[in-house]
């Protein structure tokens, strides 16, 4: 029988990015004995990579801004599929969460009056993103980490959770392993908060880090919780494309926010040809107006360079297909001819550095080559907006692994704010839930043992399948068949591939021992990636329309009927995925009025 160590907590938070840290701080502040578990070292979570900023309608640059406008932008950006209540809470509470970071030591860039400066970003009506140059995520994670360190939270670093445990229908704990030693570890817990981020590592070209293997999505799904909106995968329009080894690394939207523009091989600012009807009234049709907009957002309409990401990614895709791409299959992003070198270096220091060091390109004199990269998953664990409770009692989720907030497409900057708003709510929700329990759930030893044995199986198999090769094949399948533009035939082929890979994954064997063994770690991550890839493909097959980030070549229209449903994926009685259409919650009329309001340009 495999051995494991055991720990007892009220709340176990899985994930130490922005969402997990904020959740742990809150749960602990409310008196819950709290553990914070993360796969990497503390402070290395994906949040550290975020560049552009945190969206919050503080109105420091444009007093015209307020939560109602932010709410409207978010819902329209999400093509109205967002959970309205989440979008409302998010828009209302984000400013206070940003000020809270400042009280905890964050040093945001300032306005001339000494307030927190805000920058423009795609899909946001006004300058709205609080930021620190282009390293906002680092500021956020360090602030939260340094605050959390003094709060008596038990941190388990380089410790990965592999499965959740249940007592009847309630959560009772989680089982995982220490990466360093390979020893197994059992958490007995009354509540678990998932804050594990996304699933980019299932795609060949991605801006995401190795940790993004969909673990939280899969843990919830295996435990019987609903996932929603899984068909919505965001491709960021601007990833690096050359040299091959850096393909996918993000080029922040801040480049366009600060004046950069997209051009094709003919030098044309092609985005002016791709303004969709839906955003026409709020988008500049002429270059002059677009360029004036940077200085005066009240009297001018937004440059089409900053349309929501799904629109820009599709436009780039079309330009490349039409033969107007750059030599390495992207398009050009030009800030060099549009802003002084000194300004570029000050506003975008890590972009400057990144291109110089990795691509031998000086962005103050040369255009960048960019193309779409898998960046974010809108879909995730279905949660109650106010408490972040999943559909399984005792389970909570926040951040990228939760679904609903962003609908069919996320606006840039709305993730970092989402992490704080719903991280806090998940921590509070979990703490309150544990307070309300009359009897603690118990761990079923036989269940724990069976899972533990399953985790160690790859060592016993002298399997012929390498987890690295399987991951590589999965990445190719998802990239080629479940990418930006989708069709029924390709999605069905993807499903066949994924299921075959799932079978082969059952035969993976690993070399070496349990001590810090990346091959074994990947074999376990692969299970999550495969389950979640299957859920993405199934949801994408189900939604027979194009909306937001989900573009079907065979169903190019956005359909009113499909606009009434979210798609849920949940595990069936025999472990097979099942699909359901869930009607969207009814939006109160005063909020509906906000969303339907026409934008007025000029005072």
């Amino acid at each position: 029988m495999p051995e494991y160590e055991t720990h007892d907590f009220d709340v176990v938070v899985v994930g130490a990015g922005g969402a997990g840290l904020r959740a742990a701080i809150e749960a602990s502040a409310r008196g819950a004995r709290t553990a914070l578990v993360c796969k990497s070292l503390l402070g290395k979570a994906h949040t550290v990579m975020a560049e552009g900023g945190i969206a919050a309608a503080m109105g420091n640059v444009y007093p015209e801004d307020n939560w109602q406008v932010h709410f409207r932008d978010t819902m329209r950006g999400g093509k109205m599929l967002n959970n309205w209540r989440m979008a409302q809470l998010h828009a209302q509470e984000a400013p206070e969460r940003v000020y809270e970071l400042e009280r905890w030591g964050a040093l945001f860039d300032r306005t001339k009056d000494g307030l927190i400066l805000q920058r423009p970003f795609g899909g946001h009506r006004y300058d709205r993103l609080a930021h620190v140059g282009d390293r906002t995520g680092l500021e956020m994670i360090r602030t939260l980490q340094q605050h959390a360190v003094h709060k008596g939270i038990d941190v388990f670093m380089e410790c990965a959770i592999s499965r959740l445990l249940k007592d009847g229908d309630r959560i009772s704990g989680a089982l995982g392993y220490w990466r360093e030693s390979g020893r197994l570890i059992l958490f007995r817990a009354k509540a678990v908060v998932l804050a594990t981020g996304g699933v980019g590592r299932a795609f060949a070209v991605t801006s995401n880090s190795w940790e993004y293997t969909g673990d939280g999505h899969a843990l919830a799904y295996w435990a019987g919780a609903d996932l929603i909106d899984m068909e919505f995968v965001q491709f960021h329009p601007t990833g690096m494309v050359w040299p091959p080894s850096v393909r996918g690394i993000l080029v922040t939207e801040g480049v366009r926010g600060d004046g950069g523009t997209l051009r094709n091989s003919e030098g044309e600012r092609f985005m002016f040809r791709y303004i969709p009807e839906y955003f026409r009234v709020e988008t500049a049709e002429a270059e002059e107006e677009a360029d004036r907009w940077y200085e005066d957002k009240v009297n001018n309409r937004r440059t089409p360079d900053l349309l929501p990401r799904d629109e820009v990614a599709r436009a780039i895709n079309s330009e490349v297909k039409a033969g107007r791409g750059s030599p390495h299959g992207g398009v050009y992003l030009d800030i060099a001819t549009r802003r002084p070198a000194e300004y570029i270096r000050r506003r975008l220091p890590s972009m400057f550095h990144q291109f110089k060091q990795l691509a031998d390109v000086d962005i103050t004199t040369t255009q960048m080559e960019v193309g779409p990269t898998m960046h974010y998953i809108m879909g995730g664990v279905r949660v109650d907006p106010d408490t972040a409770a999943a559909t399984v009692p005792g389970l909570f989720a926040a951040g990228e692994c939760a679904g609903g907030m962003h609908g069919a497409n996320r606006l840039g900057g709305n993730s970092l704010s989402d992490l704080l708003v719903f991280g806090l709510r998940a921590g509070a929700g979990a703490a309150e839930y544990t307070n309300g329990l009359s009897n603690a759930p118990a761990v079923n030893a036989a269940e724990a043992e069976a899972i533990a044995r399953d985790m160690l199986v790859p060592f016993e198999r002298k399997g012929d399948e390498s987890p690295y090769a399987l991951q590589h094949q999965l990445q190719e399948t998802m990239h080629n068949l479940v990418g930006i533009i989708r069709t029924e035939g390709e999605l069905q082929r993807a499903l066949v591939d994924i299921r075959e890979l799932k079978e082969r994954a059952e035969r993976t064997g690993v070399e070496g021992n349990r001590q810090y063994n990346p091959g074994w770690h990947l074999a376990m991550d692969l299970r999550a990636m495969l389950s979640i890839s299957e859920a993405i493909a199934l949801a994408a097959i189900e939604r027979k329309e194009s909306r937001g980030a989900h573009t079907r070549d065979d169903y190019p229209e956005t359909s009113r009927d499909w606009g009434r449903f979210n798609i849920a994926v949940r595990i069936g009685a025999n472990g097979e995925p099942t699909i359901a259409r869930e009607p969207l919650p009814e939006m109160p009329s005063e909020l509906r009025a906000l969303v339907e309001q026409e934008v007025k340009i000029g005072a």
Binding site: K44, M49, M157, S245, S350
Partner: protein
């Protein structure tokens, strides 16, 4: 595809050796890419830390041809073709396995530093700070905790027994950041002098040289801290005045 010869340290706390690998390297690859290729094709259990592969998380520190580097920001073509590239774990911290070391020392120090304690906000509940007053602090907050500065500092690299008495350059940066934060009210001077052991630093600047974030650790953090400690020692009133004025 050109081939590169690699010598990668394999082993654990009980010992180890450099192992030779020959790998195909694509154009533009960084050392971390080559390590990944070795993992995927020749040594699936080769242990290495990384997260972002973009120089932003500070996970992938190692000694490449003897130089402390982020593997994800070190281009293969920056070395002379034909000569093997040697990759070893950072030396100052105990080895766990292959390229992974036990950096828990740093997390312990982080805990000892008293938290940020802001002054009360202004009447409207906001804080106002001028950009020029926070720029120094922002320089320090660029730190990605790669611990390369800790790794090269001879005070702990050559004398591990100093570790309990010396926080190291990373944490001098952190302390300087707190001390120069316009809103902070905590007094850490005694800690800087005593527990942090700033007196043991003899300003060799090795830390500054390796910092991938170009933080001027010695000039901008350590020397002002040393001055502050000295001022305080000789003239406590001047120090308090300085703190109030900021």
């Amino acid at each position: 595809m050109p081939e590169v010869a690699m010598k990668v340290f394999r082993g654990d706390s009980s010992g180890g050796e450099f192992v030779d690998y020959t790998v195909d390297a694509d154009e533009g690859q960084v050392v971390l890419d080559v390590i990944h290729t070795i993992q995927a094709t020749q040594a699936s259990d080769l242990a290495v830390r990384w997260n972002c592969k973009a120089g932003k998380c500070g996970s992938c520190s190692a000694e490449v041809n003897g130089l402390p580097k982020l593997m994800c920001m070190t281009r293969v073509n920056s070395f002379r073709p034909g000569e093997p590239i040697t990759v070893a774990p950072i030396k100052t911290f105990p080895l766990i396995k292959d390229l992974v070391t036990d950096v828990s020392f740093n997390y312990g120090v982080a805990k000892e530093i008293p938290a940020f304690r802001p002054r009360p906000p202004e009447a409207d509940g906001r804080y106002r700070m001028m950009q020029e007053d926070i720029e120094r602090g922002q320089e320090f907050r660029k730190c990605i905790e790669c611990f390369l500065c800790q790794n090269v500092c001879h005070v702990i690299r050559d004398h591990p027994d100093n570790k309990p008495r010396f926080y190291g350059p990373r944490f001098f940066v952190r302390l300087a950041e707190l001390e120069m934060h316009p809103l902070d009210t905590e007094d850490r001077t005694e800690l800087i002098r005593k527990a942090a052991g700033i007196g043991m630093c003899n300003i060799t600047k090795c830390c500054t040289e390796v910092c991938p974030e170009d933080i001027h650790i010695t000039d901008n953090a350590i020397i002002p801290l040393k001055e502050r400690v000295a001022d305080r020692f000789y003239d406590p009133f001047r120090w308090i005045f300085g703190k109030l004025r900021a």
